[in-house]
Every structure is written in structure tokens, then in C-alpha cells.
């Protein structure tokens, strides 16, 4: 099989991960975060690239570590998925446990709620300004955080991508392409929202106001997603299944 066909297959696994219902809440949060700078297509592009980089970095580093550990411990013999099972369980458990509070905290910073009450804290107004006013760099840790919050489809498909890595002797390329695949639909939707918002804003001469609303909506989405993840993974409520 040609390398192009292999990478297309891995990209497809990434797309399947992104469109599965499980990470829907984080995807909605990511779309609103990336698309919130309606007045600057450059910032949206930078955010999208950094979000993709954040996700991809997690998959590449994690994939390389698991493959290295597998080779070192088993000499390449045995089942990679079995070898990775303790790490996989650890990531699913703690990644999802941390996700709710993290989303809630970012949402509060985006809406300036932390600044109001903790004006002397380390976050304060400056951090809120930087996050809310569209510092594209924040998309990088966000992408990494969302990638680490594995849910059942994403861990299964990521491990399948790693098996492909092992079979083809390439530790970096398959996880990299998989990461790009997981980010692609989110980035596409973010661009649609950003440009639609920008178009409406320009048409009605209300660009600043629309941007303000979208940023506020981003904060609300983060808080809603944070509450959802806290209720699901910390308090054990089941909304699906």
C-alpha cells in the first residue's frame, strides 16, 4: 500500500474521531473559540493553525512515547493496544475529570467573571484581556487539552492510527496526520462562523458589536460545556446512553 493511501486512511480515522458524537461539546467550544475574532481573518487562521498544532503535538508526543516504550519493553513483539491499555485508561479517566473545571475556568475568564471577583489573583484583568481579546496563542493549549480528553471513539481510533505507525515504521507521520484530521472539521466550521459573523458585521456596520457578542457567546459555551463535563465525569450524571 502506498504511503499516500496509508495517510489518507489515518486522516479518515481523525475525521471519524472529530465527527463522532462523543466530543461534540468540546468541538462546539473549540469552534466558538477559534471563530470569535470576526474582524481579523488572520487571527482566525493563526488560532486554527495553533489549535491544530496543539492537538497534533499531543498525538505525536504520546504516540512516539508509546511506540518507544513498546519497542523497549516488548522488542516490538506482542499487542500494542494491550501494552498501551494502562496509559489509555489513565488518560481517559484523568483527562475527562480535568476537562470540566478547566472549561469552566476558561469560560469565566473569557466573560471577565474571575476578574470581577478575584481582582488581586494571578489571573486578573490582564489575563482576561489577553484571552478574551483574541490572543491566538491560547488556541495551542486548548487544542492540547481537548486532545488529551480522550473519549471512547477517539482512544480507539488513535490506537488504530498507532498500530498503522508500527506496521509502517513511521512514529511521527500517522499521529500527525491523525491530529490534523481531528482538527479539520472544527477549523472549517470556525472559519464559516468567523466569516459569516464578519460579513454580517460589515453589512450592518456593527463589526465591533458582533465581535463582542460572539466573544460573550464563546464564554457562555465554555461555561455550559464545563458544567456538562463536571456533571458527567465528576458527579456521574448520564445524559446519553
Amino acid at each position: 500500500m502506498s504511503i499516500l493511501a496509508v495517510l489518507s486512511g489515518v486522516f479518515w480515522l481523525g475525521l471519524l474521531t472529530a465527527v463522532s458524537p462523543c466530543p461534540l461539546a468540546t468541538n462546539i467550544a473549540a469552534i466558538s473559540f477559534l471563530g470569535r475574532n470576526v474582524s481579523s481573518s488572520r487571527r482566525v487562521l493563526a488560532s486554527a493553525l495553533l489549535y491544530t498544532l496543539g492537538r497534533t503535538l499531543v498525538y505525536v508526543v504520546l504516540g512516539a512515547a508509546l511506540l518507544w516504550g513498546f519497542q523497549a519493553v516488548t522488542g516490538g513483539a506482542g499487542n500494542l493496544k494491550e501494552f498501551a491499555s494502562p496509559t489509555s485508561r489513565y488518560l481517559q479517566h484523568y483527562g475527562n475529570l480535568a476537562l470540566g473545571p478547566a472549561l469552566l475556568l476558561v469560560g469565566m475568564i473569557l466573560l471577565g467573571l474571575i476578574e470581577l471577583n478575584l481582582s488581586t489573583s494571578v489571573s486578573g484583568a490582564a489575563l482576561q484581556q489577553r484571552v478574551a481579546k483574541g490572543g491566538a496563542i491560547w488556541a495551542l493549549p486548548l487544542g492540547a487539552l481537548f486532545a488529551l480528553a480522550f473519549c471512547p471513539p477517539s482512544i480507539a481510533l488513535f490506537l488504530s492510527a498507532l498500530v498503522i505507525s508500527l506496521e509502517h515504521g513511521s512514529a511521527v507521520l500517522p499521529p500527525l496526520v491523525y491530529g490534523i484530521g481531528t482538527a479539520a472539521p472544527v477549523v472549517a466550521f470556525a472559519f464559516v462562523i468567523a466569516f459569516a459573523g464578519g460579513y454580517v458585521g460589515k453589512a450592518f456596520n456593527r463589526l465591533t458589536q458582533i465581535e463582542k457578542w460572539i466573544r460573550a457567546a464563546t464564554g457562555v459555551v465554555f461555561i455550559a460545556a464545563g458544567i456538562y463535563y463536571c456533571l458527567t465525569h465528576i458527579y456521574g450524571f448520564r445524559f446519553i446512553g
Binding site: 462523543c22 498501551a84 496509559t87 467573571l113 471577583n117 473519549c151 482512544i155 465528576i234 446512553g241
Partner: protein
């Protein structure tokens, strides 16, 4: 307006702190809980146990759960009626199932069929492609039937 914002901020902050506290408390409780020996050890003289090991709930996971349970109930009805086959659905992220997850080396959703004889495991099938096949119902069913059937016949994989 500022007052309302301040109240919302306080409520959210309280929820955040309580959630972190509950998460830490549950972790400590889970670590101190006695480990389960697993369901396999409770098996009778000759029995096939079909485990569906899943993580956090999701739509795809529930679909696989239902599909596997139906296959056990319908395709192996005679064995189920005779008490020689059992379907068990477990969350491998829960502390009480950690021993079983370690034993079967589970890190993603999968079906594991185990044949027990006189309390000892004699055959096992690890069906770990269920998530990849979840989009093709017929393929998933054929995969599960073949895998569970191999253990019933005494083989496994």
C-alpha cells in the same frame, strides 16, 4: 447588571471549587475501595462469559452494548437458557473493575469472550475492533458472532 454578574461569578466559582473537591474526594475513596476479584472467578464448572468493557458512556458505546447483548441473547439462546452463557457490561474506568481491566489489558471499548471450565479460563477471544466496526452494523454483528462462536467451540483468538 454588575450585581447580577457578581452573583453569577460567585455561584460558578462555588460550583467549580465544589466540583474539584468532589473529584478529589471520589479519587481518594476509589483508591481506598477494596479491589474486585472480577466476575470470571464466580463462573460455574463450564460457562462462557461475554464481557462488554466500556469507558465513559457514549452513543456508539451504547449501540455496541445493545448489539453484543442481543447477539448473546438471540444467537446463543440455548446456552443462555441453560445458564452456560452470560453477558456482562462493565465500565473499565471504575475502580471496582480495575482488576479485570488489568487482567484483560483493556484500554478501549471491546468485547471479551471467556470460556471457563472448573473455575479456570480455557479460551478467550479479544474483540477490540468493535469501535472501528460500529459504523457498519452487519460487519460488527458478523465480527461478534464469529469471535464469541470461536470461544463457544473451545477455540478463541
Amino acid at each position: 447588571m454588575t450585581n447580577a454578574k457578581s452573583i453569577i461569578a460567585k455561584v460558578l466559582l462555588a460550583f467549580l471549587l465544589v466540583s474539584i473537591g468532589v473529584a478529589i474526594g471520589r479519587e481518594i475513596a476509589a483508591r481506598n475501595a477494596p479491589a474486585s476479584t472480577g466476575h470470571a472467578e464466580t463462573a460455574g464448572p463450564s460457562k462462557v462469559i461475554v464481557y462488554y468493557m466500556h469507558g465513559i458512556p457514549c452513543v456508539t458505546c451504547t449501540f455496541i452494548d445493545t448489539t453484543a447483548a442481543n447477539i448473546v441473547r438471540n444467537d446463543f439462546a440455548d446456552l443462555v437458557r441453560a445458564g452456560q452463557m452470560q453477558f456482562v457490561s462493565l465500565n473499565y474506568l471504575e475502580a471496582e473493575n480495575a482488576a479485570l481491566a488489568d487482567k484483560f489489558k483493556v484500554g478501549e471499548n471491546m468485547v471479551i469472550a471467556v470460556r471457563m471450565e472448573d473455575g479456570k479460563e480455557v479460551a478467550r477471544a479479544r474483540l477490540d475492533k468493535v469501535m472501528e466496526l460500529a459504523g457498519q452494523e452487519d460487519g460488527l454483528k458478523a465480527y461478534l458472532r464469529e469471535g464469541i462462536g470461536s470461544v463457544v467451540k473451545g477455540g478463541g483468538r
